[in-house]
């Protein structure tokens, strides 16, 4: 399990929930300098905008590259240089290219320090659901999601805490089809940050509400960091 984020649970009552940029920035700040990191498709991609220059964090994209740079614009665009979301990107000094078996060997073999993934649901045991809505007419498409969830040393889920219909996405047990079992160690949401540890959920920070208000809004048991 990853190191504790905070000694005590911090309740930010003087503000509302985080917006997308604030959340991306928070995730970026929680990644150790020098880490090898894979940012999943969608919201996690925005985390790269907030990685400190000089942090030495190196980005992996599972379609075959280490040392990925920012999104390409204008003349930088090269159709042979894209990220896993198929967006044109750039190359940083020290980059390397490899084929798909080597790229997923890197992932599956536990060499990527942190993978940040979007989520439909995360369970208190760290199960992740992010690939399939489970609807009968849905066309299943998994891409590298299961490999990433299973392979990285640390998997951080990044999501809003509540779905559009108001139901919580941090749940006792996922109702959506799983991407990986027991793989998530940290959950970043607009309302709070959670550490998952062997079935226990420890709240590191809350945003715009107290610990007790947060606890009342979820169907899982929460712990304060200082009660561990």
């Amino acid at each position: 399990m990853s190191e504790r984020l905070t000694e005590r649970t911090i309740e930010h009552l003087d503000r509302g929930p985080l917006d997308r940029d604030e959340l991306a920035k928070l995730v970026a700040g929680g990644i150790a300098p020098g880490s090898y990191v894979n940012l999943g498709i969608g919201q996690p991609t925005a985390v790269s905008d907030y990685l400190a220059p000089g942090s030495g964090i190196i980005l992996h994209t599972e379609n075959g590259m280490l040392g990925m740079g920012p999104v390409a614009h204008g003349d930088q665009i090269d159709p042979d240089l894209i990220n896993a979301g198929k967006i044109p990107v750039t190359e940083l000094p020290g980059a390397s290219y490899f084929h798909q078996a080597d790229s997923f060997a890197m992932m599956r073999g536990g060499h990527i320090d942190v993978c940040v993934l979007g989520a439909f649901q995360v369970s208190q045991d760290g199960d992740l659901a992010n690939w399939h809505t489970g609807k009968p007419d849905a066309i299943p498409a998994v891409g590298g999601a299961m490999d990433l969830a299973t392979g990285a040393k640390q998997v951080y889920a990044l999501m809003t805490l509540f779905a559009r219909d108001g139901s919580p996405k941090l749940v006792p047990k996922c109702t959506y089809p799983l991407t990986g079992r027991g793989c998530v160690s940290r959950v970043y949401t607009d309302r709070a940050v959670f550490q998952l540890d062997g079935g226990r959920i420890v709240v590191s920070e809350t945003f715009g509400q107290s610990f007790d208000e947060l606890a009342a809004s979820l169907d899982v048991d929460l712990l304060r960091a200082q009660d561990q």
């Binding site: 042979d80 490899f98 084929h99 798909q100 060997a105 498409a141 079992r181």
Partner: protein
Amino acid sequence: MVTFSPDPDAAVEGVQDGATVLIGGFGAAGQPIELVDALRRTGAGDLTVVSNNAGNGTTGIAALLAAGRVRRVICSFPRQVDSFVFDELYRAGRIELEVVPQGNLAERLRAAGAGIGGFYTPTGVGTLLAEGKETRTIDGREYLLEFPIRGDVALIRASTSDRAGNLIYRKTARNFGPLMASAAALSVVEVSHIVETGALDPEAIVTPGIYVDRVVLTHE
């Protein structure tokens, strides 16, 4: 021994009905568009297509699907914003789909090329995609048993070939090319450049010519 084909149609000659065709590319990067178009023109049908995606828009793999040539698709990510050709066939029950996690797909292709009979992967354990698969606990961790995916033919795109069929790729267009070239009985490659043997750095060759049967020069 590698041969150089005058055009894409000659390069794909001989693909049979019912063949398993490995098609390189991740999104547009590394897609052998001209070879896929030529494959469609052969009229070969009842194909199994193995590729990361299941076609975009109305060209390439999508056109092959639209022409009714494909019985079955093995891929990791069929659903995309512009995968309407596949989507429609799938919803109409007119095409079979096997979804494979991208890393398992890559490893199964590698296994085929490397003579490995099967392997245990942690990816997919406890998910819908594990259904019907054998599991085994090794050193306290659960794994799925996966088997090789062999192709009758591979259609891939590389950047440059020398006259011995040694290939290099460009950036993330490398993706599935080297694996598929090793996993098929017949490997067909479209390239943007052909150079003399000896012009490529022996330390930097990604696909040795031993994995290449036919090369055709196409537009970039």
